[in-house]
Amino acid sequence: MSQATVLLRRPYRAAFLAWLVPGLGHFYQGRTGKGWLYAICILSLYLTGFLLGEGKIVYWRWVNPLNNPEKFCLYYLGQFFVGLPALPALIQGTIHYLAPDQNPLFWGFMAEPPQNVLNGLQPRLSKLVEIGTIYTTVAGLLNILAIYDAFEGPAYLDAENPGDATAIVSALSAGEAVKARGST
């Protein structure tokens, strides 16, 4: 019986890299095909949504969701998981929270837009604001699946041929097998 092996190199580091840039964790593990698939699907979805909302739909503000639910940026909880592409919003939001009088960095890129700009988006762009928000949020949520795949491997240990077995091997370093699962 032949055995196809999925080597999960350093799962924690791979999961972090998968969060940082979608697909990067899989490139790190040598699973380049899946890396490209995740990178293309997730990043193109995020970028399309970002452009549909003219770059003003990904931002974060530090507020207590229990005291001020209307101001709470619920969508950013999903967008955050796209990683680096959504991280400037968190940085801008944190800077604004710590130093409200300071001008935002990088010409206000991903900073919370002024209220009049936000109010003007909906009448001007109509449904595109909603669609852009959904795109960027779903991109982040999909990256959670990719992060989990980098950490834990695919859900099903299927082999291309029925007689073959597939094993998931987590390794701290190349050649050091820590955990083997599903090998028959």
């Binding site: 698939l37 699907c41 699946l145 989990y148 491997g153 695919p154 082999a159 291309e160 597939t166």
Partner: protein, 63 residues
């Protein structure tokens, strides 16, 4: 950027395709299974969306 309201519905296609591909890739490691699962899932989601839209349109034309 402006887009006619009816054209907005086409934007659901890339969303569904991306969801199907990423979900399938997280389930399987072999490419034939990923593609097969993705196509099946894509058709399922689109079928449900089209069916639901048709039902809502039917109800809306009756009221």
């Amino acid at each position: 950027m402006t887009m006619a309201p009816a054209n907005c519905y086409w934007l659901v296609l890339p969303l569904v395709v991306a969801i199907s591909l990423v979900y399938s890739a997280s389930r399987h490691e072999s490419w034939p299974r990923i593609w097969t699962h993705a196509v099946r899932l894509c058709l399922w989601i689109l079928g449900i969306l089209i069916g639901t839209t048709a039902l809502l349109l039917l109800i809306n034309t009756q009221v």
